[in-house]
Amino acid sequence: MFTPELLLNAVVAGLMLGSFYAAVALGLSITFGQLDIVNIAHPTFVILGSFVAYIINENFGLDPVLIGVLFMPIFYFIGTTLYRVYYASFERTGQESLSGLAFFFGLMFIIEVVLILTFGVDYRLVEADYIGQTLHLGPLDFPYRMLVPAIAACIVTGAVVLYMNKTFMGKAILAVSQDRLALQLMGANPLQVKRIALGIAIATAALAGALLIIIQPVEPSVGRMYIGRIFAIVVLGGMGSISGTFLAAILIGVVESIISTFYGPSWAPAVGFGILLLTLAIRPQGIFGRA
């Protein structure tokens, strides 16, 4: 049963899985962590990205990762539109807490049902040459269906970190939830900043969705499993710190991978929620957050 080699492979698989989780949690880290917008529909946008990748891959045979990248502008536009609706309906009137939450809950439900009505509840998958092949390095196995998404996830996370820290707009996004007035004095329009931020957040879902469908077959309600997982990651990562989110994602990926290797995969979904509950109860500011 227990061998060091098995443990080592579980950890490696967890590292790759965790990197991918970071790509999924990235968008939520921006919306929830930095804009205070509780987008619980984020995983559903990821699933939407998976289905876009599925349709294009099925019909034109394009590489899923490429499709994900190509559709980022369209998802960006969906995100900015979403912010306009959200602002006009809730933020302007100060009702974002209860109504805003219920709004995203309803939105999640609508997207999921439309996907079920269109595609049914069958599992869909994509085709690419590297899926199914494995890179062997000594005792370690790197299946390409995990390795490719992990690398792509690291690149997109790195790109967002660079954008946030190096550009004016990125810094403005980091600033918007802290001090709106100061931001306005610096010559940035908070509404525009938030719109762009939500656009970026949803854009990352396009890529994350494409990565997800490389890793595993996808059906419309898969997204629900990710709600707890990515909220756990964002809260654990200290709310809005992108690098904290990345580290938390790796942590959860590794723990899940070890649990599913030694106790069976049906327990893995409880890991995210379990860690989330523990974090909320013991240290709500997260491991990497400031007290």
Binding site: Q95, L117, G228, A270, F273, G274, L277, L280, P284
Partner: protein, 318 residues
């Protein structure tokens, strides 16, 4: 307590429900009304916490399923009489509600909402891995042969659920009208200020979450006998969670009769859509109605009606 319109209508509803079981033979009507009533209990229970105190519970399905699976376990282990098992199921989910109430000490707003969602999913994972409860594959529950004074078991379940619905509504009405209700509203509007003014916020929240838990558990407790086959997908269904939020939101969360109106409207629309069009489309209707009402009529049908009345009054005076 003096006999007012509310208690008269309670008696009328119960008598009408009983007459319904004696006069109507077609079992479909009992299935349909049972589902509407189950939604009503969930909506009223959700509103006792969500509408009165402002704490959003996303994990309604968890409470519901706890009630349902308690019944499955009790029925399998001891085969006790139905009312006894129902009371135990309600008590257990009431205790879960009490626990959730303590969580609200540390977690406000969004964090509380996500914690409730997390609890539901942890429970689902536990059930999925529990061989005794049927695991992910589900389990069969056999309806007892005898059905008390009713012609068949579904009529008995219908009447039982009607009773639970009436009790839930009465409790919700009592909570909102009493001093306790004022305290709950104070928690919703400004918890810190309420605490400073001497409102026992923790006690009130605990009462609120426990009551919610009890009724959600009761709503779920009859479910295994209603469907005779329970699996995690149906017991933890997202539709249950969405409905229990959508119904109060559509009806209006501020008053006790809001969720009742919302549940009746949405429930009837859903049942009609399921029969005439398809059950998937009925899911879409819930989502669209929920989002539509929140964005365009945040105070629900009750709010729309009040606006309409105010406008009429304004026209008459001017």
């Amino acid at each position: 307590m003096k006999l007012d319109k509310f208690w008269i209508s309670v008696v009328v509803v119960l008598v009408a429900g009983f007459a319904f079981t004696k006069l109507v033979d077609n079992e479909f009507y009992f299935f349909a009304t049972y589902v509407v009533l189950q939604g009503l209990v969930m909506a009223v229970a959700w509103n006792i916490l969500g509408g009165f105190t402002g704490y959003v519970n996303f994990g309604s399905a968890g409470f519901f399923a706890l009630g349902a699976y308690t019944m499955v376990a009790l029925n399998k282990a001891f085969g006790l009489p139905l009312p006894v098992m129902v009371l135990i199921a309600g008590t257990l989910s009431g205790l879960l509600g009490l626990g959730v109430g303590y969580i609200s000490l540390r977690l406000k707003g969004v964090y509380f909402a996500i914690a409730t969602l997390a609890i539901a999913l942890v429970l689902e994972t536990v059930v999925n891995n529990s061989h005794y409860l049927g695991g992910a594959a589900g389990t069969y529950v056999i309806q007892p042969k005898e059905s008390f004074i009713f012609d068949n078991y579904i009529e008995l379940l219908f009447m039982f659920m009607l009773l639970i619905a009436v009790v839930a509504t009465a409790v919700s009405r009592y909570l909102s009208a009493s001093r306790l209700g004022m305290g709950l509203a104070a928690v919703r509007d400004d918890e810190v200020a309420a605490e400073c003014m001497g409102v026992p916020t923790l006690k009130l929240k605990l009462i609120s979450t426990t009551t919610m838990g009890i009724f959600m558990g009761l709503a779920g407790s009859l479910f295994p006998f209603f469907v005779t086959f329970v699996d995690p997908v149906s017991a933890f269904s997202l539709l249950i969670a969405v409905n229990s939020i959508a119904m109060p939101m559509i009806g209006g969360t501020a008053v006790w009769y809001g969720p009742v109106i919302g549940a009746l409207v949405l429930g009837v629309v859903q049942e009609t859509a399921t029969v005439t069009i398809s059950s998937e489309l009925n899911l879409l209707i819930v989502g669209v109605m929920l989002v539509g009402f929140i964005t365009m009529a945040p105070r629900g049908i009750v709010g729309l009606y009040e606006d309409y009345k105010a406008k009429r009054k304004g026209q008459n005076n001017g």
